[in-house]
């Protein structure tokens, strides 16, 4: 399976899917590069699974087209598409053994000598000793690998994975994430992975597209999106963010000043995606530092004063909830790299961060209450 195959980009053009009045996927245009591990990430109902099902041919798009390389596959029925799917909860055929499950696609395409191909595939997913078992006799993790093998053996142009790890427990999930990544690198097929688990998407994918209400909010390298979200939705869906609504109040060198709740925050020009005067300043909790009120704060740092209302010790880090003078609760993660010296509930503190870590989001139409309620709804 390791020989280099010609793989082609997957193009979605103006793809729309309506169910009655509900628009599940809204004018989606997207190119997924050949050989990449692409994650469609979003909350349930955001249209990610519908998108996947349209690519698989299990759902017809209302408008728009799907093509692989130059071939338009929009009108092609599922069983004629060079695309295979790893289904959520696997959908293994219960009456066939593992060997026959994996051989199913080959047999349907009239391939005669399936034995060596199936055997090498079972080898790849390390299931050779279980070839004659029925799916029911396998553990969740093993069934998951059968599902991957059954799809991959057909050497599809695109492999679709629909929440493939959702049914596994946390530890097994971590293990399978690494395994899937290994398989993807080994076979070089384009993987399109649908998930609502941001950590899973970030661990495995080269490119993550965050979807919301049928549209892609932001797309790119996982680290880039995390470090520099461009919408409020992404800032709070991918990890946590502290958001301060404010108004643009002038410029500094390569940066803008934002007035918010009587404070002035600075956001570098390169990290500001707000086009107008209404700006939401965001800072990730782990970029913030907590100090006692009146302690020294380094230059080029912005600060907010507040009172500690909650302290959660999680081993690696301590998570603080600090209430500001205007009532917003901000979270701060501190590494537990110093023994002792933790702030306690009720302490008056100052929270500060390097201005280089702040990002600016378009706040048009969003009030502070909006931003905050959305924040709590995620937590």
């Amino acid at each position: 399976m390791a020989e280099q195959r010609r793989v082609e980009d997957l193009h979605l053009r103006n793809l729309t899917k309506r169910f009655g009045d509900f628009v599940a996927v809204d004018d989606l245009t997207l190119t997924i590069p050949a050989g990449s591990f692409f994650a469609l990430l979003g909350p349930s109902g955001c249209g990610k699974t519908t998108t996947l099902r349209m690519v698989a041919g299990l759902e017809d798009p209302s408008t728009g087209s799907i093509s692989i390389g130059d071939r338009d596959v929009t009108g092609l029925r599922a069983f004629k598409r060079p695309v295979n799917t790893v289904f959520q909860s696997y959908a293994l055929f219960p009456h066939l053994d593992i060997f026959e499950n994996v051989a199913f696609g080959l047999r349907r395409r009239g391939i005669k000598d399936v034995k060596p191909i199936v055997e090498s595939m079972l080898d790849l997913v390390q299931l050779t000793p279980l070839a004659r078992r029925k799916p029911k006799q396998l553990s969740g993790g093993q069934q998951q690998r059968v599902a991957v093998a059954r799809a991959l053996i057909n050497e599809p142009d695109v492999l679709l994975l629909d929440e493939p790890l959702g049914a596994l427990d946390l530890k097994l999930r971590r293990q399978m994430q690494i395994e899937l990544k290994r398989i993807q690198i080994e076979v070089g097929t384009t993987f399109v992975h649908v998930t609502h688990d941001q950590e899973e998407a970030m661990t495995m994918a080269d490119t993550v597209a965050v979807m919301n209400e049928g549209r892609i909010e932001q797309m790119g390298d996982p680290a880039d999106i995390y470090e520099l979200p461009t919408t409020v939705f992404v800032a709070r869906f991918l990890g946590q963010s502290n958001l301060f609504a404010g108004q643009r109040a002038g410029s500094a060198a390569d940066a803008i000043k934002v007035a918010s709740h009587g404070h002035e925050f600075t956001v570098p020009d390169t990290r500001n995606s707000a086009p107008g005067g209404s700006v939401i300043v965001g800072v990730r909790p782990e970029k913030m530092t907590i100090v006692d009120a009146g302690d020294h704060i380094p230059e080029h740092h912005d600060r907010v004063a507040g009172r500690v209302v909650d302290v959660s010790y999680t081993g690696v880090s301590t998570q603080y909830l600090v209430q500001t003078s205007w009532g917003e609760e901000i979270s701060v993660f501190e590494q537990n790299d110093v023994v002792g010296d933790r702030s306690a509930v009720g302490d008056s503190v100052e929270v500060h961060w390097d201005r280089a870590h702040a990002f600016g989001l378009d706040g048009t139409g969003l009030s502070q209450e909006n931003v905050e309620t959305e924040q709590t709804s995620v937590a």
Partner: protein, 298 residues
């Protein structure tokens, strides 16, 4: 944690007296069922065999205990052709019922949606009326002067020029009467099939026809086996359809048992006929179940 050790030990290692009590409870729970089987199956069955071996004792309808194998010989020589006919009729009715029921059950299971419940009620609704009454109704429907016979005669497809009193009417009646018993197990089996398996099969290059052949049909086999048995067994012993819709030339084994028991009061022959019927069905069914290999299915 030494304090925890005895507790966890007690949990995993059941003391013998507790195990014994558990076993006794199990047997006690079996009692009502075993009692039912004894009273309503084992005792009547023994009585049936004893009766089938009795010898005549003078007056008509009076028999003395004996060991008269001749009853069986007579039953087979005199009614052998009725057995053959019964199983042919029942077999054909089962096949027709399967052909009619499968698409219907498939439709209800896969396309029924919110109407599933209502459609199932409609399937069993005819059985709310008496079996006898429904069969009588077919006499009217299939009457010689009726529109159905007229239609088929116009096409010229009826060898005897009529439907009533022919084997066609008897097989049609059997098919109709036992149809719900075919539909319900088929529906239960088809309804259990996960739709994602069909999608997965489509995704793996199987056309709808192949998907049916390789996925849906094998997974519905338990329903097919249950449905065919629930149709075939009662149909082969039935005499109402043969009597009301057929003629002297379409009599089934049930008719012979009925006539011998009620009219001739020849209880030993009637019993021998019943025992033979049970025995043949038992053989057919065990071969059938073995060959269909359903114990392998989920």
């Amino acid at each position: 944690m030494p304090a925890l050790v005895p507790t966890s030990n007690a949990g995993s290692d059941t003391p013998p007296q507790v195990a014994a009590r558990k076993a006794r409870t199990g047997y006690l729970l079996l009692l009502p069922g075993m009692g039912w089987l004894a009273v309503f199956f084992a005792i009547p069955f023994v009585t049936l065999i004893v009766t089938s071996l009795q010898v005549p004792a003078g007056a008509s309808g009076v028999y003395a205990p004996g060991f008269d194998i001749a009853n069986y010989a007579e039953a087979i020589t005199q009614y052998g052709n009725l057995y053959v006919r019964s199983f042919i009729y029942a077999g054909l009715a089962t096949i027709f019922a399967l052909i009619i029921a499968y698409p219907l059950a498939y439709f209800i299971a896969f396309r029924g949606g919110q109407w599933k419940g209502l459609l199932l009620v409609l399937v069993i609704a005819p059985t709310f009326a008496s079996f006898l009454l429904r069969t009588y109704a077919w006499r009217t429907i299939l009457a010689d002067e009726g529109p159905v016979t007229g239609f088929f005669n116009a096409l010229g497809v009826l060898p005897e020029g009529r439907i009533l009193s022919t084997s066609i009417a008897v097989i049609a009646g059997l098919t109709y009467n036992f149809l719900p018993f075919m539909i319900l197990p088929l529906f239960a089996a088809l309804d259990k099939i996960d739709h994602r398996l069909i999608e997965a099969s489509n995704d793996l290059y199987a056309s709808p026809v192949t998907t049916f052949r390789k996925i849906v049909w094998p997974l519905s086999l338990p329903g097919v086996v249950a449905g065919t048995l629930l149709t075939f067994i009662p149909a082969s012993g039935d005499y109402i359809n043969a009597q009301l819709l057929g003629s002297i030339t379409t009599r089934m084994i049930g008719s012979a048992i009925q006539v011998n028991f009620i009219q001739f009061r020849d209880y030993p022959i009637a019993s021998a006929l019943s025992v033979i019927l049970m025995f043949i069905i038992l053989i057919i069914v065990s071969i059938y179940i073995r060959r269909s290999g359903t114990e392998d299915l989920v």
